[in-house]
């Protein structure tokens, strides 16, 4: 089958790879602390409470500048997500005025099927309101960002299925503002210093502060800390859900498929052995 020589050769290939990389590793790598996410790993699912808190942060803070054009109100009621009740979603949607040329006066109250309304009419309006910077849309942002691992650590990511680079980056970004830029760093007017953001000068003012959002505590549950770190974690999880709403179902199906394939492969191997029995090959 695969003999020892082949295995040795594979190891030699990997050794060659690490040899090349050792000379390459001297790049600038920003260290981002990886968080432990409920949706990581084979059995990962979203934590409904966390998504609801994350939505609260998004709705009360982020949504004043950032859009989420691919998200419909109805998505917020779907299984595997924040799972708000239909009534909550109807009420939420009705708070918004939706431009609709077919409605009386051109606007109507929102319904569950409407997409999340953009905070600005045009890209130019968004830039004008934010000192020239464009607040990115949140719909798939959690998958448009990532963290860089140095060699050889990224190799392991293929085996652990690490796909939480986006939320790790977002959490890292939100908790990495510094009041003062380090000495010698010229911070342009209207920018803020953040040691995770590429180039370090970010257009977004620190959006979160301790105690800014009040989390409701349900009866019989322990209170969640109202800190920047907690807000960042919650909103990053919510953003991951926006980018990958079917994650839980996908992983559940995946586990069954994987299990089936392993058992099936075992049966196939047995059958193959039986057919080939007695044949010198």
């Amino acid at each position: 089958m695969f003999n020892t020589k082949t295995v040795l050769a594979t190891l030699a290939v990997l050794a060659g790879l690490s040899g090349v990389s050792a000379t390459q590793a001297a790049g600038e790598v920003v260290h981002i602390e990886k968080q432990s996410w409920s949706f990581a790993g084979i059995f990962g699912t979203y934590d409904q409470n966390q998504l609801q808190r994350g939505f609260q942060v998004f709705n009360e803070v982020c949504a004043s500048c950032h859009g989420a054009r691919l998200i419909a109100f109805r998505n917020l009621a779907e299984e595997g997500g924040p799972s708000f009740s239909e009534a909550q979603i109807k009420a939420l949607a009705a708070e918004y005025e939706i431009a609709d040329a077919t409605a009386d006066g051109g606007v109507r109250p929102g319904v569950a099927a409407d997409r999340w309304p953009s905070p600005f009419e045009t890209e130019q309006d968004a830039r004008d309101a934010n000192g020239g910077s464009l607040p990115p849309d949140f719909s798939v942002l959690a998958k448009a960002r990532g963290v860089h691992d140095a060699f050889p650590f990224w190799v392991f990511n293929y085996f652990t299925g690490y796909s939480e680079g986006g939320p790790d980056y977002i959490h890292g970004l939100l908790t990495s503002y510094e009041d003062e830029a380090p000495e010698g760093f010229e911070l342009p007017e209207g920018k803020y210093y953040n040691h995770v953001f590429p180039g370090n000068a970010i257009g977004m003012a620190p959006p979160l502060s301790d105690g800014q959002i009040t989390y409701e505590v349900a009866e019989g549950q322990t209170a969640v800390p109202e800190t920047v770190d907690q807000y960042s974690t919650d909103v990053a999880a919510f953003m991951m859900w926006m980018a990958e709403p079917h994650l839980s179902g996908r992983k559940q199906t995946g586990f069954v498929v994987l299990l089936f394939l392993v058992v099936f492969a075992g049966l196939m191997y047995g059958t193959k052995r039986k057919i080939w029995a007695g044949i010198e090959h």
Partner: protein, 416 residues
């Protein structure tokens, strides 16, 4: 190979059909009775695995095309629409995207298996050439498919790769404009890439049919590289190899579904979740991993040679690195096929593999001074392997004695 035919039509209908279109006879000869060397190892199952990969790509691709919109204003959102709103769309899309990577992983194993066991040598040169042709078509198809989601990497890959053609003298610029359908990458580019991306897989399927035809004339090579002498060396394809290949396919699906279900985006680049913007260049433009060795070769050439400027020279090396594969059967003139019996070739073969992996790695690194230097060394070695090492080895190497037949080597192994 009709001399192996054991088919006798069982019923009147079959007889009637056999006299008009002997498709059952053909299937029996080529899918069931076909004599196959009995000593093929698991590296030989990748042929069947590749057929499966092509099938998965075509089936998922046809479904994706039902929901995708090839228009620059809607393409990005339509792919998200597939992931979010189409029933099972997230999985169909990720099987297609992950499938492309798995297809290339399998094709690289298949190619390197052929290189080790000398499967390109007479009488299998045409078989090998058709294989390289399939590889080239796969690269074209995969590249155009990668452009369709219209993310930052899509658009910039289209820009960079079409730019390569502009380096060709005289016809370069018209060719560039023909490929793009304009002066820059835009809606006409997306439309023609979508059209070609739908067309080429069927061209691949046709060349695969020729590839299998060319395989069925001389029959399979085998790990000893010794020709089949008589019936004792072979087994009928069915049930022996249908079963072995089916097992190989199931095994191959395990890493496949691992990526598709648990890390569907890990083989791609996060920047492709940002819609293409021709005004914003990403910090690193990196192709998909399977293009990296050739991308490294392209970038390694940063110097002019005589009257040829570095851009054209890069393209010559880039193209040459693939063209040279077509010539492989005539560069390696050793009479012995299998690397198992070539003590010196074996070492150089693995060195070539390491070098190829190194090129893959370098292709993903920023093109700084050390990176380019290493790329130059690896590029030089890539060509030296084909142009110098293989022809010289064929002359100076003393191969180990070959077994007289497949069945002898099989018996020797089982008694050892």
């Amino acid at each position: 190979m009709s001399e192996h035919s054991t088919y006798t039509p069982g019923s009147g209908v079959e007889k009637w059909l056999d006299e008009r279109l002997p498709i059952i006879r053909f299937s029996k000869e080529h899918l069931m009775d076909f004599p196959t060397p009995k000593n093929l190892n698991y590296w030989w199952t990748f042929g069947a695995i590749l057929v499966m990969c092509l099938g998965i790509q075509i089936v998922t691709g046809v479904i994706l095309a039902m929901h995708y919109t090839p228009n620059i204003a809607m393409a990005f959102d339509s792919v998200e629409h597939i992931r979010r709103d189409v029933n099972g769309g997230r999985m169909i899309q990720s099987f297609h995207a992950v499938g492309a990577s798995m297809f290339f992983a399998a094709v690289y194993i298949h190619i390197f298996r052929g290189m080790y066991f000398g499967s390109y040598k007479a009488p299998r040169e045409i078989l090998w050439i058709l294989g390289v042709l399939i590889f080239v078509l796969m690269m074209a198809t995969a590249f155009m498919g990668y452009v369709l989601p219209w993310g930052q990497m899509s658009g910039w890959a289209a820009t960079v790769i079409t730019n390569i053609f502009a380096a060709i003298p005289i016809i370069g610029t018209p060719l560039l404009e023909l490929l793009r359908g304009g002066f820059s990458v835009g809606n006409p580019t997306l439309n023609r890439f979508f059209s070609l991306h739908y067309l080429l897989p069927f061209v691949i399927a046709a060349v695969v049919a020729l590839h299998i035809w060319a395989l069925h004339v001389p029959g399979n090579n085998n790990p000893t590289g010794v020709d089949v002498k008589d019936g004792r060396d072979t087994l009928p394809f069915h049930p022996y190899y249908t079963m072995k290949d089916a097992f190989g396919m199931v095994l191959f699906m395990i890493p496949f579904v691992w990526f598709a279900f648990f890390a569907p985006d890990i083989l791609g680049h996060p920047d492709n979740y940002i819609e293409f913007n021709s005004q914003v260049t990403p910090a690193h433009i990196v192709p998909e991993w399977y293009f990296l060795p050739f991308y490294a070769i392209l970038r390694a050439i940063d110097f002019n040679l005589l009257f040829i400027d570095s851009k054209l020279l890069g393209v010559i090396f880039f193209g040459g690195s693939i063209v040279i594969l077509f010539l492989l059967p005539w560069l390696d003139t050793s009479k012995v096929r299998s690397g198992n019996f070539r003590p010196m070739f074996k070492w150089f073969y693995w060195l070539f593999v390491v070098n190829f992996v190194a090129l893959t790695y370098l292709g993903a690194q920023p093109a700084d001074a050390t990176g380019v230097l290493f790329s130059k060394i690896c590029t030089a070695y890539y060509f030296i392997h084909f142009i110098v090492i293989l022809p010289v080895l064929s002359r100076i190497e003393k191969p180990r004695p070959l077994p007289t037949s497949i069945s002898e080597s099989v018996l020797a192994k089982s008694h050892a």
